[in-house]
Structure formats: C-alpha cells, structure tokens
Point group: C2
Chain length 339, copies 2
Amino acid sequence: MSEQGIRLTVAALTRRVEEIFRRAGLTDLQARSVAEVIVAGERDACKSHGIYRIEGCLQTIAAGKVDPRAEPLLADDGSAVIRVNAKGAFSPAAFALGAPVLAERAKQLGLAALAINSCTHFSALWPEIEVLTEAGISAMAMCPSYSTVAPAGGSEPLLGTNPFAFGWPRASGQPYVFDFATSVAARGEIELHRRAGKALPEGWAMDAAGQPTTDPERALEGAMLPFGGHKGSAISTMIELLAGVMIGDMTSRDALDYLGTTSILPHHGELIIAFCPERFAAGRSGNPLDRAEILFEAIAGQGARLPSQRRFAAREKSLAEGIHLSADEARMLERLEQG
Amino acid sequence: MSEQGIRLTVAALTRRVEEIFRRAGLTDLQARSVAEVIVAGERDACKSHGIYRIEGCLQTIAAGKVDPRAEPLLADDGSAVIRVNAKGAFSPAAFALGAPVLAERAKQLGLAALAINSCTHFSALWPEIEVLTEAGISAMAMCPSYSTVAPAGGSEPLLGTNPFAFGWPRASGQPYVFDFATSVAARGEIELHRRAGKALPEGWAMDAAGQPTTDPERALEGAMLPFGGHKGSAISTMIELLAGVMIGDMTSRDALDYLGTTSILPHHGELIIAFCPERFAAGRSGNPLDRAEILFEAIAGQGARLPSQRRFAAREKSLAEGIHLSADEARMLERLEQG
C-alpha cells in the first residue's frame, strides 16, 4: 500500500466494515446496518462518525454493553406510535426495522412517531433522517446521551450532548437536513483540544467547581455548557423528557449510571417524529415541496449556506472518485479485519 | 382612582377585556378567547403579552387584517392531523376550537397535531401549551412571524422571530413549560432599547449593510440575529417549513409581503404537536410523570431555575391578591372601554 492511502467504492468499504462486524459476532441485520451508517459518515467526510467509530463499537461489544446477537422487535398497534425494542442491539438495526413502517404510517395518518428502546447509540442522526426524506417524509430525530452537560444556571453534568436533527425532502435528492449537539460543542471536540494541548474557546465548559474554564482537562472533569444559553438548555431538557422519560427509556443520567463511564457507547432510546407534507398541506394552496424551494433559495441567495452542504459535496466526490482512506486509516482497517 | 393603581380579580379583568373586544365587533368566541389569553399574560406579569396588547389587536381590526366576525372551522378526518381554518380570526379562537379534539386524538393515537390556518397571531404560545398540559398532554408549539431575522451567515431579514414552546404536565399543576423566540431577542426588546436611547448588547442585530450594530435604530432597519448561531437559525428555518410551508400557510416572508408592515399583527398559521406520555411509555417500566420529576429535581437541586418559575410566582400572587394595574394602565383600560 502506498503512503498516499487507498480508494474504495462505497460498496467495497461497506462490505469490508460489514465483515468486521460479522466476525465480531453481530447478526446480519446489525452488521449490515451498522456498516452502512459508519460508511455513510466516512463517505460524507464526517470523520468523527466514520470508520474511526469501528473500534468504539468493538470495545462496547467487548464490555458486554451491547448484544451482538439481539434481534430487534417491532410492535405496531396501528396507532401513530411505532415501537422497536432493540433488545440491546445497536440502534441502526432497530431503525432499519422501524423506518419503513414509520414512513408508511406518516403517509396514512399525516404524522407518526418511532420510539426505539434499549439500543446502543453511536451514530449521527442524519443517516436516519435521510432515509425518511428519501421517502418524501419530513422528520425530527432526537436522543439523550450521557450526563456531561450542566443545565443553564447550574454547574453539575446532568444533560447529555443530546443531538437534535431535522430533515425536509427535496426533489434534488439532497434534502434540507441539520443535525447538531445541543451542547455548545461535541464532547469529541473537547477531547481533540486536550490531545492537541490547545485551550478551549470561552463559553464551552466549566470546571468541577462550576467556574468557567478553557482548560480541556478541567472541562472533562467538570461540565460542558448547552448551546444558546437557557434556550438550548430548555431544548436539551425537552429531549431528555421526550426521547428518554416519555418513551420509557434512560435519561442521560440513567445511561451514565448504567455504564459507569463515558468511554463506551451510550445505551438509551431514540425518538423520531415523521410528518407527511402532502397530508398536512392537503386542501391548501401551493405544493409544499415547491414552496420550500423558495425559502431555500432566499437563504442561499443571500450567501447563507444551507446545512449539510459540505457533507453533500464530500458525498458527490466519494461517489464519483471513491472514498479515500489515508495509509493510517487503511492500516487500521486491515488490523481490525485481522481482529 | 388612586395613583397606586387598582386591583382586579382575574375574572373581573377578563370580563372587562372581553367587553372591549365585543364592542370592537368580535364574535363571542373570539372576544372570550382573546381576552383570556391577554389576561393570562397580565396575570403572569408577562407585561409584553398583557393588556398592552389590546391596542395592537384593535389596530389590526381597524386595518382590516383580521376578521372580527370570522367563525373558525374545524376539519377532522380521524387522522393524526386536526385542522382549524381560522378564516382570518384571531388565533386563540381557533385554538379553543381545536384543543379538546387535539388532546383527545393524542390520547387515542399517542401523537396528534393541530394545524391552525389563516389566523392573526399576537399571543405567547405558553397559554396554549398549558391548556394541553392541564389535560395530561405534552406538547410543542411553533409558528412563523414576519421577516425580521437574517439566517446565520446571511444579512437580509427572512426568518421571523419564530417562537418555539414546549410543555410537560406535572402533578403540581405548574407544568414544565418554556416558550422563546428563536431570535436572540424579541423585536419588542429592540424597540424598548430604542425608546430608552440605550445601545443593544453585542450580537443581537446587524444594520442594513449587514454589519454588526448595537444601535437600535440601525438594527430595526437591518436584521436581527437568530439565537445560538447556525443552530438557532436551523431551528427557525424548521419552523418556517413545518408551521408555514407544510401546513399550507404563510412563511414569515409571505406574511410581511401580505401586510407590508411589521406594525400590525402578523397573519399566518401555527402548528401544535401533542404527545400522550402514558401511551408512549406503555409497556415500559416506570411512570413517565414520576420519572420526569427526578429530572426536574436534579435541575432545580443544583440551583438552575426551571423555565416559567418567575411567571408561576407572579400567577400565584395575582390569584391570591388580584391583578395589579398601575394608574396609567387602569386609565388605558378605561379609555379603551370608552372606545
């Protein structure tokens, strides 16, 4: 292998990652769905959700905190709430089972929700959102994490980095989609500052005594801050309530108590809410997908970037030229394949 | 009348405000529901949504931009989406009609939405959220406004101040509820700085040339900024999509084009999403309302205030001692009564 690294098609990389997980004992559904999500991250140059994640997944299997043989179970009572009990599996397997039923129910009732329970969660939320926008559905997704963020006005870690994502389908095939942590920064960014010996920006974190800090070591011992002050803190609390308490699953504090560490992947649930734009707009004038384009043009037309554009550009490049792995990344993959 | 002002019970003030609107030509349903929402604001010491709002409502009637005789129409096809066409009425009348059906449908299906169309909107969203939490329902509410906020990375007003509210029922009767503008500040706060001749805090607004400004005059000619940078901007855009485009109603830009001014109340739609916690949690361990209390205690226990606590304290005082109006406010009320 050259020091320039290697190029692989999306399909080829997916096969290799899937095989690693199969050898680690995952069921076919788990291995395939986990590999697809990880390769989607790598394809879109979201390095923090790409093949770098494989080791974390394997460590969580080794720690016995995920069940590689679990078969998620779908429960559908015909209401607006679809449930998938992941039974300890990785979340992408549960989502793969529930997503088609969710999209169908949203088209039937206008609105539906998918509650995923008892899963191990490591992925970004946009891969799930994009499965739904692909089916013409608009969706919100949210989940707790583990307690690392202090509520606004407090100083003790309680909330998680609690991601929130939303998507809207577009005829172009590249949906309007955003996906962000409700903390000022992702925990991984603080870790990266620590490794690089760099100070944090102001306003990211406080130390164990509740004082503002720019020292990443002290920040990791203390608490991160929510984005947008009390407003972001409120949204993060809403996520604990809806995607933790309401669906009868762990809050970020429960997840931390269960695992006893933030060094393996969190175990909790997830909530996805799906909207059928055509059903909502029925009987009103104007096609909702066409009208949304006017809004997007007014945003992009003033030089404001739509979310995920950088990711879509990376995706186009990966699809055209293959996914590039550095020599180090290619060696990591080979090492994991030799398991 | 003494210069100390007057005290009125909630019921007495509601009757007086209702009568003002009846004399202004509103139907019984509109007069009652508008008065209840305005008095709720005054009762909770939310001065910007209290009796101060009466004149704005009357001006909007005089401008012919709201229909005082409109009878909102409920459409229910048995799906998860309940619709009320306000037919140009004030929004509280439409909500009053739709709320019981929404709560019932959420209990039946687990999840339901109320799409209100073609209303004039002036109220905070928490009065609506609290009607639902009172019925044991958790809810989100959102609506566009009119274009006064630039998307993150842009410089032209496009988004509205687009409020977002959420509530969760509590046995104490005081729900967990938040309600905030997705702009850094409400437009009224910039106006108050202008009147007081005070500079704005940094980061609230930009001038017409797209440069940051702390001058309230220039800010009003330019654009406000979303809260929380690109994250708040994304949430505000989501509100334009879901509560404007998706429900077949005006975006903030449409509303400004329709009215031609921000000096009368905006005309658009509203979206409320209702969740039944018992239905979502069914079959899982733990009662969701009890589990939520553990979260609230962990927030309050570290000295972080839950949202709306100041408002609830003002409410308790108003209910015990009556609502206090200053001499100026009492005179304003009398003037409006002589209309």
